[in-house]
C-alpha cells in the first residue's frame, strides 16, 4: 500500500546504499583477505530474509501474472486451468473496469486536493514556537492510533442514517442516507480518508517547516512582505519537496481506501465507489473468479507503477538530493 511511496522517499538513500555495496564488491575482488575483509558478514547473513521475502512477495507477483491467463475459482481440488487470453479480452470489453479506473482516479485527485492543503496549513501552524501547539499536535495524533478498519467503523456509526448524527441533525443532512447516493458516498470516503490520514502529513509538514531558516522570513519582513506573501513566496516553495513526497504517499495510500470501501459501501451504490482494488477483491473473493481478479491486479500494478513514474518525472523528484529532504 504505502510501500511504493516509501521507496520514493528513501530512494536517494537507497541509491547511495547500492553504490556503497557496489564499491565494496569491487574492493573485495581486488583485495581478498586482509583487514578490508575481516569481520565482514558474507551473503549467508542476507540469505534467509531474502529467500523468505522472495517466497511470500516476489514469487506471488510473478504468479499473479500467470493466474491472469487461467480460470481459477479458489477451490483447492480444482486448480487453475490455462485459458489463454480469455480474462484479458473480457477485461478489455468490461465497462465496469473503465468505470472503476475513473472512480479510482477521481478518489486520488480528491484525496490530494483535500489532504495536501490541510496538511500544509496545520503542519506549518504546528511548527510555530508557542508551547500549546505541542499539545494540539499530540491531539492531532489520535486518528493515527486507529486502524483504517476502526476509523471506518467509527465514522460509519456516527453517520448512520437512523442512529447517527444525520438523524439528530435532519436540517443539515436531509434524509441522511449519505452512503446511498454515489456522490455523497464518494464525499464520505474522501472525508474519512482525510480524517484518518492527514494527521500524519501534519507531522511531516511540521518537521519540514521547522527546517526553513528563520532568516529568510526576517529578510522578507524587512522588505515589507506580509504574512500571506511570506506563506506563498517562502513557505510553499521551501516545502516543495515535502509536498511532492506527501502527494506520492497519498496517491499510493489510496489503495488503503479499500478498507474504508469494503466496510462502508461494499463498492456501492451500484458500483459507484468500487475503486480498482475493491473491484479486484469483488471479482476474486465475492464472485470467486480469481483468474479475472488477477488480470485486474496486473492492471493495478501497471497503473500504480505508471502513476508514480509520471509523478517522479513531472516533478523532478528523482533529482532530489539527500534522503531526508522530503521528511
Amino acid at each position: 500500500m504505502t510501500r511504493l511511496a516509501i521507496s520514493e522517499r528513501t530512494s536517494g538513500f537507497a541509491m547511495r546504499e547500492a553504490q556503497n555495496t557496489d564499491r565494496g564488491g569491487l574492493h573485495a575482488a581486488g583485495r581478498p583477505g586482509g583487514l578490508q575483509h575481516a569481520g565482514r558478514p558474507g551473503i549467508l547473513w542476507a540469505l534467509p530474509a531474502i529467500l523468505y521475502f522472495a517466497l511470500f512477495a516476489l514469487l506471488p507477483l510473478g504468479f499473479a501474472f500467470y493466474l491472469s491467463f487461467t480460470y481459477y475459482n479458489g477451490i483447492r481440488i480444482s486448480p487453475p486451468t490455462f485459458i489463454g487470453l480469455d480474462n484479458w479480452t473480457r477485461l478489455s470489453s468490461d465497462a465496469a473496469v473503465g468505470k472503476s479506473v475513473t472512480i479510482t482516479l477521481l478518489l486520488v485527485v480528491l484525496a490530494v486536493v483535500t489532504q495536501v492543503p490541510l496538511g500544509v496549513i496545520t503542519g506549518v501552524w504546528a511548527a510555530g514556537p508557542q508551547r500549546f501547539r505541542a499539545i494540539v499536535v499530540a491531539l492531532y495524533f489520535i486518528p493515527l492510533l486507529m486502524s483504517t478498519a476502526a476509523v471506518s467503523v467509527l465514522w460509519g456509526s456516527l453517520l448512520d442514517p437512523n442512529f447517527g448524527i444525520p438523524d439528530a441533525l435532519p436540517w443539515l443532512f436531509g434524509d441522511g442516507n449519505l452512503l446511498g447516493r454515489q456522490w455523497s458516498a464518494v464525499a464520505v470516503i474522501v472525508f474519512i480518508y482525510l480524517w484518518g490520514a492527514t494527521p500524519l502529513y501534519t507531522l511531516i509538514f511540521q518537521g519540514a517547516a521547522r527546517q526553513i531558516p528563520v532568516t529568510i522570513y526576517q529578510a522578507a519582513q524587512i522588505d515589507g512582505a506580509g504574512i500571506i506573501r511570506q506563506f506563498f513566496s517562502i513557505t510553499i516553495p521551501q516545502l516543495r519537496n515535502t509536498i511532492i513526497t506527501v502527494t506520492i504517499l497519498i496517491v499510493v495510500g489510496t489503495f488503503t481506501a479499500f478498507d474504508i470501501i469494503l466496510i462502508l459501501t461494499r463498492g456501492g451504490p451500484s458500483n459507484g465507489t468500487a475503486i480498482l482494488p475493491y473491484f479486484m477483491y469483488e471479482q476474486a473473493f465475492v464472485a470467486f473468479d480469481l483468474g479475472y481478479g488477477s488480470a485486474i491486479a496486473v492492471v493495478l500494478v501497471v497503473l500504480a507503477a505508471a502513476v508514480s513514474l509520471v509523478m517522479v518525472r513531472v516533478t523532478g523528484y528523482d533529482k532530489m538530493t539527500g534522503s531526508q529532504e522530503g521528511i
Partner: protein, 272 residues
C-alpha cells in the same frame, strides 16, 4: 517563523482539532452508554450514564478472542522480523559481497509492491501450504511485507555506527557473529525499537490479509471482527463503538510508553 500570531492558520488549526476530537469524544461517550439510552438521547446529547455493558457484550460476542488473535499475529510477525531483518541489514551495511547488493536491489523492488496486488496468488500459496484459515497463514505474508521498509530503517541506524568501531572489533579478532551480537545489536537499539513498533502496528491494524486468508471465528482478528460486527449489529452503535475502543487501547498504551518509537514507526507506515 514570524512572531506575530497568524489568526487565519490558528483558527483553521483549532477548527481541525475540533473535527478530530468530536468523533473521538462521541465514540467514548456512546461506548459507555447503554443502547437504550443512546437510542433515546441521540448521538449528540451530553453523557447521561457510565456503564461497561457494551464492553462486556463485546467480549461475550467473542471480541476477546479476536483481540487475542490479533495479539498472536502481532507477536508472531514481530518475532519473524526480528530474526530475519537485523542480519540482513547488517549484511547490507557491512558486507562487500556482490550478492548482497543484488539482494538489496531486489528489496527495493519489493518496496513498490502493494499488498493488494498479490493477495490472489498469496491466497493460492497459503492454501497450497495447507495454512488457509490459520493464524500462521496470516503471520507469514504479513512479516514478508514489512521486510523491505524495516530493513531500510535498520540500515539507517546501523550505518550510524562508526567504521572505526567495526575495525577495532576486527583487529581484536572478532568474528562477524561476535561483532553483530556484542556491538551492532546494542548500538542499533533505537532502530530496532522503531522496527518493532512499525511491524507491530502493521500486524495489529492489518485488514486485507486476514480478511482473505481466514474464515473461522477462531482465527478472526480484531479489524476483520469490527467489519463483521458492523454488518451484523449495525443498529447497536454503542456496542460497535465499544469494540472500536477496545482495538485502540493496546496502541494507546504503546503511545504512552514508547511515544518516540511510535512516531518514528508511524512515519514509516506512511499513509497506513
Amino acid at each position: 517563523m514570524g512572531t506575530r500570531p497568524n489568526w487565519f492558520a490558528g483558527t483553521f488549526a483549532v477548527g481541525w482539532l475540533f473535527v478530530i476530537l468530536l468523533p473521538v469524544y462521541l465514540m467514548l461517550r456512546a461506548s459507555f452508554e447503554s443502547q437504550s439510552a443512546y437510542t433515546r438521547n441521540g448521538p449528540l446529547a451530553p453523557p447521561t450514564e457510565f456503564v461497561l455493558d457494551n464492553f462486556i457484550a463485546s467480549f461475550e460476542m467473542g471480541f476477546g478472542r479476536y483481540l487475542l488473535n490479533a495479539g498472536i499475529i502481532t507477536v508472531g510477525t514481530v518475532a519473524i522480523v526480528l530474526v530475519l531483518v537485523p542480519p540482513l541489514a547488517f549484511a547490507i551495511v557491512r558486507s562487500r559481497n556482490r550478492g548482497v547488493s543484488a539482494a538489496f536491489r531486489l528489496l527495493l523492488v519489493g518496496l513498490a509492491i502493494p499488498a493488494q496486488v498479490v493477495v490472489i496468488p498469496l491466497y493460492y500459496l497459503i492454501d497450497s501450504l495447507g495454512l488457509y484459515d490459520s493464524l500462521l497463514g496470516v503471520i507469514l505474508p504479513t512479516a514478508a511485507f514489512v521486510i523491505p521498509l524495516t530493513t531500510l530503517i535498520l540500515c539507517g541506524s546501523m550505518r550510524e555506527i562508526s567504521g572505526e568501531l567495526y575495525e577495532a572489533m576486527a583487529i581484536d579478532g572478532a568474528t562477524p557473529l561476535r561483532s553483530f551480537f556484542s556491538m551492532v545489536l546494542p548500538l542499533a537499539k533505537g532502530g530496532i525499537a522503531t522496527v518493532v513498533v512499525y511491524t507491530a502496528l502493521n500486524a495489529w491494524n492489518g485488514f486485507l490479509l486476514p480478511l482473505i486468508l481466514t474464515r473461522s471465528p477462531e482465527v478472526t482478528v480484531a479489524t476483520v471482527g469490527l467489519s463483521q460486527f458492523r454488518q451484523q449489529f449495525s443498529v447497536n452503535i454503542p456496542g460497535l463503538l465499544s469494540a472500536v475502543v477496545l482495538t485502540i487501547i493496546p496502541i494507546f498504551i504503546v503511545y504512552l510508553f514508547a511515544r518516540r518509537a511510535l512516531i518514528a514507526g508511524l512515519m514509516g507506515v506512511g499513509g497506513k
